[in-house]
Structures are given as structure tokens and as C-alpha cells.
């Protein structure tokens, strides 16, 4: 995918761009708000990483200009502002996702890929998700593996559905937490891990092939 990285700290912008390039993406980077406004309105990007504080034109203004000109390129907002409601401010202004500094590049990359996938509608429009012999029906909320019904609790079902919608894609703990619980903060302890290990026990236990994988230090993914 083609990514525009707008970040006034040159060092951060450079290592983010480097990591994304290594993952096979095309990356443009700029450190100035005016350049960012020019690039984002003239070039076509798959996703934009936008810092909140920028010289000349700030991130929130750029985002508003983009949205007013009916440009719906997914935007991930970056910010060092730790106020709890900054996230809400960013999301209300039309950002698709929000990441607080300091962030891990793995987390950023995972979020960008999910954003890109979502905007390209690469999800299966079917309500029946399938990975290997694991099936999940979004309508009937029925989950089976090799034809055997697996009974999941509400949150477990939501976790599995989210992972299956993003097949093969690493999804971080905070992404899972935000998506499934709809709260924005990092629970300090390993609460998400416990939920995931329960889910894993339900879908992989007794099966030769393990579908739910841990991406160490970052999160989880599911693949056949």
C-alpha cells in the first residue's frame, strides 16, 4: 500500500518510513503541514499517518480540509497529547484511528494494514467467515470447527470474528480491546491475553493444526 507519513520529528518519521518500506509498502514522508496538505490533496494514498502537531498547518486542520473535500483516505492520527479525550477529538474530526506517542512501529503497522483493508472492502461480504476448517457465521453467531459446534461467550465471539475478518493480519491487544470492549485505554495487566488463551483453548485444543497464533510482543493473528 501507499502510505503518507506526516510527522515533524524527522527521526521518528524516518524510522516509521523505514519499517513500512521493509514491510513492502511505498512511503512518502514530510515534516511540514503545508507540504502535507499539498501531498495529501494531490496524490492518492491508501492510508495517511498524520501527526497532530505540525509546523505551519496543524494535523487537525489538514484532516478537516481532507474530509471537507470528500477525500476519505483513511487517516491514523498520531499525538503526544495525553489528554484522555484527544482520541475522541481526533476521531470526531474524521480520523479513522488514533495512536498515542510513544507508539510501537508494529502497532502502527498493524493498525494501518487493518485500515487499508477496511477501506478497500476486502472483507468477505459473506456473513460466513471461514479459515481452514473453522467457520463463523456472523448472523446466526454459530462457530464450528471440523463440523463440531464451539460455544463461545459474547466477547470471545467478537474477538474471533475480528481476527477472522482480518485473516493473516496481526491485531494488537489494544486494537482488540478497542474493537471488542469499546474503551480506549491499555489495561495494564494481561487481561486480554487471558481472554485470548480461553478462546484458543476453545478453537485449537485437540486439533493438530493451530489456527490462532501469537505474534510475540505485539498481538495475535489467525491463519489457516
Amino acid at each position: 500500500m501507499k502510505v503518507l507519513v506526516v510527522e515533524d520529528d524527522i527521526e521518528i518519521a524516518t524510522y516509521v518510513a523505514k519499517a513500512l518500506k521493509e514491510a513492502g509498502h511505498i512511503v512518502d514522508q514530510t515534516h511540514d503541514g503545508k507540504d502535507a496538505l499539498f501531498l495529501s490533496t494531490t496524490e492518492k494514498y491508501d492510508v495517511i499517518v498524520l501527526d497532530r502537531m505540525l509546523p505551519n498547518v496543524d494535523g487537525l486542520t489538514i484532516l478537516k480540509v481532507l474530509r471537507e473535500s470528500k477525500n476519505d483516505t483513511p487517516v491514523l492520527f498520531l499525538s503526544a497529547l495525553a489528554e484522555v479525550d484527544q482520541k475522541v477529538v481526533g476521531l470526531r474530526a474524521g480520523a479513522d484511528d488514533y495512536l498515542e506517542k510513544p507508539f510501537s512501529v508494529i502497532e502502527l503497522q498493524a493498525r494501518l494494514e487493518v485500515l487499508n483493508r477496511r477501506s478497500k472492502h476486502t472483507y468477505n461480504n459473506d456473513t460466513l467467515l471461514q479459515i481452514d476448517d473453522l467457520q463463523l457465521d456472523l448472523n446466526s453467531r454459530k462457530v464450528t470447527r471440523s463440523g463440531h459446534t464451539i460455544s463461545l461467550q459474547t466477547k470471545e465471539f467478537q474477538l474471533l470474528a475480528y481476527l477472522m475478518e482480518n485473516k493473516g493480519q496481526v491485531v494488537t491487544r489494544s486494537m482488540l480491546f478497542e474493537k471488542v470492549w469499546d474503551y480506549y485505554f491499555d489495561p495494564a495487566t494481561n487481561v486480554i491475553d487471558v481472554h485470548m488463551s480461553r478462546l484458543r483453548a476453545k478453537i485449537d485444543k485437540g486439533h493438530e493444526k493451530k489456527l490462532l497464533q501469537t505474534a510475540r510482543g505485539s498481538g495475535y493473528f489467525i491463519d489457516g
Binding site: A82, Y183, P187
Partner: protein, 433 residues
Amino acid sequence: MLKLSITHQTWLLSFALTLVLVVLVTPLVLNDNELDQAPISQISEKISTAFYTGGINNVEREYAELATNVYVGIKDQHGNFVTSNLDKTFSNYLHEMTKAELDHVSGKSSVNFLHHLTNLPDGFTLYVAIWQAPEKQDNPILLAGLFLGSVTIAAVLSLIWGVIIRRRLQSINQLTSQIIRSGDVSLRLPSSSSSKDFNELECNLNSMLNKIETLMEDARSTGDAIAHDLRAPLTRLKGKLETLSSQSDNLDQQLHEAHQEIDHIVTIFNALLRLSILESGKQMIKLSPVAVSTIVQDVVELYEPLADDKKVLMEFTCHDVIVNADKQLLFQAICNVVDNAVKFAPEGSKVSVVVENRQHVHITVADSGAGVTPANINKLTERFFRGDESRTLAGTGLGLSLVKAVITLHQGQLEFADNHPGLIVTITLPKLQ
């Protein structure tokens, strides 16, 4: 002794002084007051002329032109009034006065009544009296004297008062400048002053000093704690990186652990930053009606698997009640409390979470862990405070400080009690009216 304010003392003294001056000076002023003789003789002449030219009828015509404080009457040879503009009281008064008395006062004033007698033909006598209102009896010299006297006494009094106030202010100034010079905020003003104002000022200054001392103590201990709490993960991180550069096997594990250390440091920084934003009140929280039960249930569901893994039973009892809250912040606060409870609950015990709808909303989280010693119970919300039990467990030492800040922003209260054994944490929130 009754403590009066300086203002009250001054008022009282001035009042007393004025009273004394009035009592002493007024009789002097009034007794020596010389009344103007001119108008009364003019009036007498006028009335006499009217009598000579037109008799009693003519006199009565003149009444209308007389000022209201002028009283006129004519008596016949038997001493009876044949005409008068006086009312009954004054008639009687004049009637009862003997001629000798009237003669005596005629042309001279009594206190504030001026009489004049004129003998008319045929045995008739004309009585003229002028009632003088006391305030008209101005005596410039005496008033000036009175004024000067008052000013002098007031000036002397102010001077004495000034000296007293100055002396008291000096002691306050001395102490404050001493504190500024030495930086010793443990000094306090003695609250010995008998004046209510000064006592209040001293009390306020002392409580300001208390606040400053606590803040400085907080800042100092926070600084120490930051230094301590960040030094540990930084040391471990340094160690891991050193090991990494010297040995290449087990690289993955070492790197992973190094990442975890950094995450821990970042978590501490974020929590500190968030805490200072919440405590400074810079964070404008957006309150909206939320169902407490939903939020608490979300927390319980989030922690249930973790508790389950530890063989800790989570009990949840709840009443439906709506409060005005910031959903995100309240969730985070309750998470922190439940996180602690699950963390400290021993295997096989239970953690109970109760939402009660009473006069206020009570959210109670009770565990049966090691609890907190009474001495430490008040330190629970201090930054970086960690009981002996928790030192070895993961955490930032900022969880309950954050809870306290969030609950305070919600006009609520955070209380701790002993569960014999264990800790009971109660969050009290005002109900939505």
C-alpha cells in the same frame, strides 16, 4: 476573652469617644447659645402696629403670614387670651408663666424658646415666642473646636492603633521573609493574637504553609519515587542490552524482555502524565448520563477470566442506577480497583463487586487478600505508594492515585476499609438528579 475584630474595636472606641464628646460638650454649646434678638422684636412691632390700626381682627389676619415656628398671643387685663395662633399646649404653657418669669426671660432665651412681651393699650399684653430648632443654633467657634478635638483624639488613636497593627504585621512579615530566605516551610505563625482579623490572617497563612509543605513533600517524594521506579526498569534494560551485545544466543527472548521493560517505563510515564492532567483540572471531562451497572459489568467481564485463572471467584451484585460520568474515565478507574482486588486475592478466595443505589451510588470492591495496615491505608492514593505485598507484583504504583483523581473529578469519594482480612474499596458517586 472575646476576640473582636480590629474594625469592631475601632468602631467601638470611636463610638465611645463620640458619646463622651457629645455628653461633655453639648450642654456648654447649648447654654451659651445667644439667639438672634432681631426677628422677634420686628414681629412684636408688626403685630403691635396691626393691633393699633385694626384691633384683634387685624392681628389675626397677620397669623397667616407668620412663620410656623412663631407663636403669637394677646391677653386681656384678666390674663385670658383673646386671640392666639398657639395650640392648646403652648397656650397653657404661656398662661401658666407668671409675669415675673416672663419678664425675666423676655428678650433673653431659655434653652431654645425666645419670648417677647409687649404691653398694649387697655391692659392688653402681646406675647411673641419663637421656637428655635436646636440644629439652627450653630456656633462656628465651638463646632470648630469640637471638630479639631475629635480629629486630634482620632489621630492619636489611629497612631496608637497603627503602631499595634504595624507590630503585628511586622511579626508576620518577619516570618514570611524568613521562610522565603531559608526555604523552611515547617515554620508557623503563633496564633496568639487577640484580634479576630489577625487570628484569621494567621490561620490562613498557616494553612497556606501547610498546603505548600504537603505539595513540596509530594513533589519531593514523587521525584524520589520516579527516580526509584524508573531506575529499576532502566537498570534491567541496560543489563539486557549489555547481555545482548555480548552473547547472541537467546537473542529473541532478550529483545522481547527489553521491549517489555520499555513498555513498562512508557506505562509509568503515561500514567504520570495523565494523572497530572487529571489533577490539574486541565482535562475538561465530558459528563453524560451512563448506567453504572453497564460499566461495572464490563469491568467484571473483562477481569473474570483472569480471576478464574487464579481460582478467584468474582461475585457481582448490582442495582441499576444512572450517574453523570465520563464513561471512559470511570471504566478505567473501576478497572484499576478491580485489577488490584484480583491481583491481591489469594487462590480460592472471592472478590465481590457491588453496586448499590442508596442516597448516593456506592460501588464497593472487596477482596480477602493481605489488606493494608491501618498506617498505610491513607497512603494508598499517594503516587508510587506500594504496600509490601505489591512490591513484587507488576504495576506502576499509580493506579489508585488515578482512581482518586478520576473520582474527585466526578465529585465522588474514594474510601478504604479493612475487610478482615483484605481491603474494601468504596467509590461513592452522586446520583443523577
